[in-house]
């Protein structure tokens, strides 16, 4: 076959060029290096900061156990905020999910604007929403609940409409063929297939919201986050540590319950 020689090696395909890989590596390196220079991030700074960090950790231990009595009401408030925010978000997410699913609504000029709004909502972090709502509604639980609700709409509606698009079309076709109207079609054809997924996504969003609610107080939106400012402002790091540990415990317990429930559902 090969005119030049009988040597089998010469017929091996050429190695693919690696220039692209090297180029990518160089670009990434350049981006990291540029970022480090621009933000004054150096190892020297890190190492001079380490003793300071260690001092901070030393001051945090042992945690101030008595402080738990002061923060229990705030923690309950945090959980309330997460429950209320998730609930409102979950309710508002339903119509959004319905009009974004391409197998339920067949008109593009409804689907795409709805999806666009959902994408827009998901670009804004919940803490930023909370800061905005605090500016609008003043300090308290209400802005926190609203921020979590808006954030939840973006997440739950997206996950739900994606689940709705993968449902079995069989029952839907059967409903159409026996002359069901649109409402009956959704209630008896779509809902039974999506409900378990929807509840699971709501629980998942609730887990995220509990974590978010724990820091919303930093921008004045109520809950346990308010106490970070209080204790850090007075340099009472042992109390800060109590808040952190308490938050971790609550988050882990809620995560555990929610995960167990979600496993049961699906």
């Amino acid at each position: 076959m090969n005119g030049t020689g009988t040597n089998g090696l010469s017929r091996l395909p050429k190695k693919p060029s690696r220039i692209k890989h090297y180029l990518t590596f160089v670009i990434v390196l350049w981006m990291v290096w540029g970022s480090a220079v621009q933000t004054d991030s150096t190892f020297k700074e890190l190492f001079t900061g380490l003793p300071e960090m260690w001092k901070l950790i030393e001051e945090m231990f042992p945690p101030n156990w008595q402080y738990f009595d002061n923060i229990v009401p705030a923690m309950l408030e945090t959980i309330r905020m997460a429950i209320a925010g998730t609930t409102f978000g979950a309710i508002i997410a339903i119509p959004f999910a319905v009009i974004s699913a391409s197998n339920i609504v067949k008109t593009p000029w409804i689907i795409y604007p709805a999806r666009f709004i959902l994408n827009l909502i998901r670009t804004i972090p919940d803490l930023l929403l909370a800061a905005l709502f605090v500016a609008i509604f003043g300090l308290g639980l209400v802005p926190g609940i609203l921020a979590l609700a808006v954030f939840s709409v973006g997440l739950i509606a997206k996950l739900t409409y994606e689940a709705a698009e993968t449902i079995d079309p069989g029952p839907l076709e059967a409903m159409t063929s026996v002359g069901a109207n649109k409402i009956q079609w959704i209630v008896f054809g779509v809902v039974p297939q999506v409900a378990a997924h929807y509840v699971s996504y709501v629980l998942y969003t609730f887990e995220i919201n509990v974590r978010a609610a724990a820091v919303l107080g930093l921008v004045g939106a109520g809950g346990i986050g308010l106490y970070y400012e209080k204790t850090l402002g007075f340099l009472e790091y042992d109390k800060t540590n109590s808040i952190i540990l308490f938050t971790l415990a609550v988050v882990l317990v809620i995560d555990f319950i929610s995960t167990k429930l979600r496993e049961k559902l699906l």
């Binding site: 540029g34 900061g49 804004i124 972090p125």
Partner: protein, 257 residues
């Protein structure tokens, strides 16, 4: 059948109790009369933004703030992508490895994940001083929790064939790592790092609230000085930046997969 009905009623009663407890504890003292006006101002700010703020020849402007936010998230993502690799191998459960080792690794990772990154940022501002570096360190440390978990799953799903083949031909551990492990896990690692980078860009926009650099700093100033048109342009800038980053990163991740 009877059990199902019982279960249903227990769930309903539990839900009712939870909601009664929740809403009984929330006090609602009406909406501030200025709320409508402020909302309108913010929307006006988004639709007729303070364009002058986008670029100022000297000093703090929108583009520089966004660039700093990006730099924080790049640094944070790279730090966590490197530091989490040992954590990933530690917590991955594989054949012939004790349950205790991987279990402890998984626990450490979930501990890091639940630690709020904003609190981490506050602690780092105390250690290395306020600024972007504290933000990058906070993002870097916090991201280890999630990236470590995802990386570990990647390691767990690795095909053991190539490793066994190399061991059979007498390769040493370094060679096994270089020729069997890395080629298999690298695409996954890169893809997850990009995904985490998308999340970090969002997180970096709020680090400024606690003095850890980025666009959050001018945003919180604009909010507290009630310059709504500036709030509007910053919000618009964040939305545009996050969308562009998501598009680029999503494209790269599709190519990697």
């Amino acid at each position: 059948m009877k059990r199902r009905i019982w279960l249903r009623w227990t769930i309903v009663v539990a839900l009712v109790l939870i909601y009664v407890w929740t809403f009984a504890g929330i006090e609602f003292n009406g909406i501030k009369p200025t709320a409508g006006k402020i909302t309108r101002s913010i929307f006006e700010g988004i639709f007729s933004p303070d364009w002058d703020y986008v670029y100022l020849p000297d000093g703090e402007d929108l583009l520089r703030g966004l660039l700093e936010t990006l730099q924080i998230s790049i640094l944070g993502s790279v730090i966590s992508a490197i530091v989490c690799i040992p954590f990933a191998f530690w917590s991955a459960s594989r054949k012939g490895k004790s349950k205790a080792a991987s279990g402890s690794g998984k626990f450490v990772l979930s501990f890091i994940r639940t630690f709020p990154e904003l609190v981490m940022a506050i602690l780092f501002t105390k250690a290395v001083g306020p600024g972007s570096f504290a933000g990058a360190l906070a993002l870097g440390l916090h991201s280890i929790g999630m990236l470590g978990k995802l990386f570990a799953e990647e390691v767990e799903n690795m095909d053991s064939g190539p490793t066994e083949a190399l061991v059979a031909t007498g390769a040493n551990r370094l060679q096994v790592l270089w020729f069997a492990v890395i080629p298999q896990v690298l695409p996954g690692f890169l893809s997850y790092s990009l995904y985490r980078f998308e999340i970090n860009v969002r997180s970096a926009t709020i680090l400024g609230f606690v003095g850890a650099g980025g666009i959050g700093t001018p945003l919180i100033f604009a909010l507290s000085s009630r310059s709504w048109d500036r709030v509007g342009i910053i919000l618009l800038g964040i939305i545009v930046m996050v969308t562009i980053i998501d598009l680029i990163s999503g494209y790269l991740r599709r190519k990697l997969a």
